[in-house]
Point group: C2
């Protein structure tokens, strides 16, 4: 196990929660260029003829300092002239695309159509925006999440944005996962001899992390990986900080708790980070065979993102040294 300063790290991430931790990690790592943020692309969809990658964009904007911290998505100081004009033309307006935000969708779509991979386009755009960490899609192949609901199957963004997570969830499908290949950036990061830890960000396990795990070979690579795999709970005090995680758990008959998250990742993780509010669950989680770290996990202020990142890295280093 290399020392923290030299090691490389992987973060598996969805959108907002993962981006917060990724930002904290970039702040506290001596060399943020050694962090690979592997991003869920199950949310990606084609809209208005444009390829929209919500989680990739949230990460990109967050790490570039361009994110709208109030909404949790989109860009700060955004305007809606395009959307208003589109509505006047009879176009679809249920998924808001801001004027600035449009640039990334138009440019990415153009380049993908020209035959470039999502990895290449993402890497170039991140470089343009001065992002030091590597943001890589989980796969360059489409693996769209389909939400099975009581209203029938729904494409993810139709469930998430158009229906505002209203329909009761029965399950999830990761379409095309069997044929998908993990991105080379993901595989390279997993194969790095100096990998210090794989951090599963406090993202929704079903719709942000499971799609990444559904890509063939990823579960095996994580199991074979010598570095510790550490998950951070997205549930605090029985509630999700943001998004439908708790609602989805309840609808699937699972009481929303840190323990339930740890159980969801059973066999995959070596360590689990939960909030002080859930300290009572620590023993139960430890009983599942993983190391447990209790700390403040709410990441509102930048300092909180950094403090949690330090705690996660220290925990990971202790786990790595213990192996």
């Amino acid at each position: 196990m290399t020392s923290s300063a030299d090691a490389s790290y992987i973060a598996l991430s969805g959108g907002v929660g993962g981006a917060k931790l990724a930002l904290g990690l970039c702040d506290v790592l001596e060399n943020p260029g050694r962090l690979t943020v592997v991003t869920n692309t199950g949310d990606d969809f084609e809209h208005l003829g444009l390829k929209v990658c919500p989680d990739l964009d949230t990460l990109t904007y967050t790490l570039a300092g361009l994110a709208n911290l109030e909404t949790g998505w989109g860009r700060a100081g955004e305007s809606g002239a395009f959307m208003e004009a589109l509505g006047a033309l009879g176009g679809e307006t249920w998924f808001f695309l801001g004027d600035k935000d449009l640039a990334i969708h138009v440019e990415r779509t153009r380049r993908l159509r020209a035959g470039e991979s999502l990895s290449t386009v993402t890497s170039d755009l991140c470089a343009r925006l001065g992002i030091e960490a590597r943001i890589v899609p989980m796969s360059d192949d489409p693996v769209p999440t389909v939400v099975e609901t009581e209203d029938g199957p729904l494409a993810f963004q139709h469930y998430f944005v158009r229906e505002r997570c209203r329909p009761k969830v029965l399950g999830f499908r990761h379409e095309g996962a069997e044929q998908a290949r993990a991105s080379s950036g993901f595989l390279d990061a997993l194969a790095a001899p100096d990998l210090g830890a794989v951090i599963v960000c406090p993202s929704n396990p079903y719709i942000s992390i499971d799609p990444i795990l559904a890509v063939p070979g990823v579960r095996d690579a994580l199991a074979a990986c010598e570095a510790p795999v550490i998950a951070v709970s997205p549930i605090i005090g029985g509630e999700a900080v943001k998004g439908p995680t708790a609602k989805m758990m309840a609808e699937r008959g699972i009481a929303p708790s840190a323990l339930a998250i740890a159980e969801h990742y059973a066999g995959l993780i070596d360590g689990f980070v939960l909030d002080e509010a859930d300290r009572a669950e620590a023993a139960g989680i430890a009983a599942t065979g993983v190391a447990v770290e209790v700390t403040a996990t709410m990441m509102t202020a930048r300092e909180e993102k950094q403090a949690l990142s330090r705690a996660v890295l220290a925990f990971a280093n202790r786990r790595g040294a213990a192996r």
Copy 2:
């Protein structure tokens, strides 16, 4: 020949100059719904993965009351957040697409990719914007104008916008014209039994009107047409009101004059409208065998657009009655 109030009319148009006359015609016609504005699509190009139709858009925005009257292109009250963000991502910024304007390109591109024709999309968008006149593309097939220059062949917008009409023009090609078919809206308007006149707007003859005339069957249909064909000179006092018409004429060894424009349309037109500034050329133009009308053709104010429209319609009606 039906009376002016009942007749239908066709205007052949490029962008700015044609849009001005079309606006005037809409103002003064009892029923603007009987005006078909056949629009040059030789300027159309794919840019940033979007289908951009500059002349169609200028007409649409002008007749919808949305046009930027200062620039002559784009929309009033436009913003550039998209373009600025695109530049930061390394995208191409030489062709400005405003935030509002983007809506028409995105929506049109989406619908064309879904298999709809340019005519259908244009018709729907115009209806959405409350435009009474019919704006129809000359063809649903691409007929891109290539400008042959001393620097080699240039796609039209590369010549026009990127190079700002700098390279010396040797000639023009209308690519794909042989295979193109006139749009059904164009053909229907030409076949209308109550057609009162075909008005060739004061547009650039080479890059706005010739592409329309290059579509197979159009010249023959105009020649066979019982209604008078009336052209309005885009040259006033040896200069173009806007754009590179005079420069192109000079580069091709033609002294820019109303007479030269009339000669360019020889065999096609029955009547020619020129500005009072060029009254001295009237006799020479009449000697080519066309009727001549001298009036004020500068269309800055709305009233000037209307006055010229009235003059053109009255002239056309006299020509029609004389046949």
